[in-house]
Symmetry: C2
Subunit: 212 residues, 2 copies
């Protein structure tokens, strides 16, 4: 999630040494992800991101139309990053389906702990901020949730067919329940600076799907 910035001269850089146009852009996105998972969109100023990425202010608007476009890029980047992380746990066929969800939870716990529970979920942060955000973000955020939901639903369906969970749970509904509560748990973990809310929610969720 971090990219090393480069010291640049004024004017167009020579082709030889440059690792390409994407470097600066990637640096901005990397720093942006770190900042927004921590403090959200509204509170994070461009200056701070630019300073951390060591990218001059004038350059920002070369790579992005405005802050809104930057925000969209971050949503997309985070959605992809997280879907990937999720999929790594959820497709681990050495584990039974429910254990894979558990594995994701453990991974997330470790991830939050690593940053002392300062960083949460970028999508959750922005969802909460929605009233202060460009309306164009709403659908992007919802689509990310729909994607994540589908991935959990698939695993629950597997669990159902394996007979690990009650016959009458509807995987799609349970998956929605999972992400609703999960975002709440992340929020609370940040507030309490503890993994306990994540565990608490995960335990409840497991009991729910097992008990039907």
């Amino acid at each position: 999630m971090n990219t090393v910035p480069v010291k640049r001269k004024r004017g167009r850089p020579p082709k030889s040494q440059n690792t390409g146009y994407q470097d600066t852009r990637q640096a901005l996105i990397g720093v942006g992800l770190a900042a927004l998972t921590e403090k959200g969109y509204s509170y994070t100023g461009l200056d701070e991101i630019l300073r951390q990425a060591k990218v001059p202010k004038g350059s920002f608007y070369h790579y992005f139309d405005n802050k809104e476009a930057f925000g969209k890029a971050l949503i997309e980047a985070y959605g992809r990053f997280f879907a990937n992380k999720l999929e790594r746990s959820l497709t681990d066929n050495t584990l039974p389906p429910l254990e894979r969800i558990r594995a994701f939870v453990e991974g997330a716990k470790a991830g939050m702990e690593k940053f002392d529970f300062r960083r949460g979920c970028l999508i959750g942060n922005m969802g909460q901020e929605m009233a202060a955000l460009p309306e164009s973000f709403r659908n992007l955020l919802r689509e990310v949730f729909r994607d994540w939901e589908a991935r959990i639903a698939r695993v629950l369906e597997e669990a159902r067919q394996a007979g690990d969970i009650s016959e009458d749970v509807v995987p799609e509904q349970m998956a929605q329940f999972f992400w609703i509560g999960w975002e709440g748990a992340v929020l609370r973990a940040k507030l309490d600076q503890s993994p306990q809310p994540l565990e608490q929610f995960a335990d409840g969720f497991m009991a729910l799907v097992r008990g039907g």
Copy 2:
């Protein structure tokens, strides 16, 4: 939650007509609650609150030391307001315990609908923002949750004794689970502009406590 502002003359107002010192302060808090439940602390500027409350800037700093002190007053005001609302549902003895929680959920649904799902929970908003907030807010927010938790736990204990829910649910733990997930549901309801996440979570929660 709203207070009507009055046009004031310069200087200290005469005692006869004035409804007292608390008027301006109350107007600020009323407008502040509306603004913060919608957009959070960081994004809400004092100027906006002052404009809406029709209170000049100079007066603000007469009633509050700074924005931080104002924020604390809002947390307290909201905590009290909400605990009250909560208690009205939870002590309705014409209903069995679990139905009272359901009643709260219905009330909250109506409340969010009334404002087109723009306003959420001030405590949840600020919890998510915590990384961008004065550290002094953290304990206040946690205390509010502890208070709300105790109230739900009490009802769950009643339900347990009435035999409405599984013997082996631990009321305190379930109450924590409730608020963890509830804040997630409110977040999602704002994003989706729909009461469905609130229902979805409530249904799951009910199934969980019943099933043990």
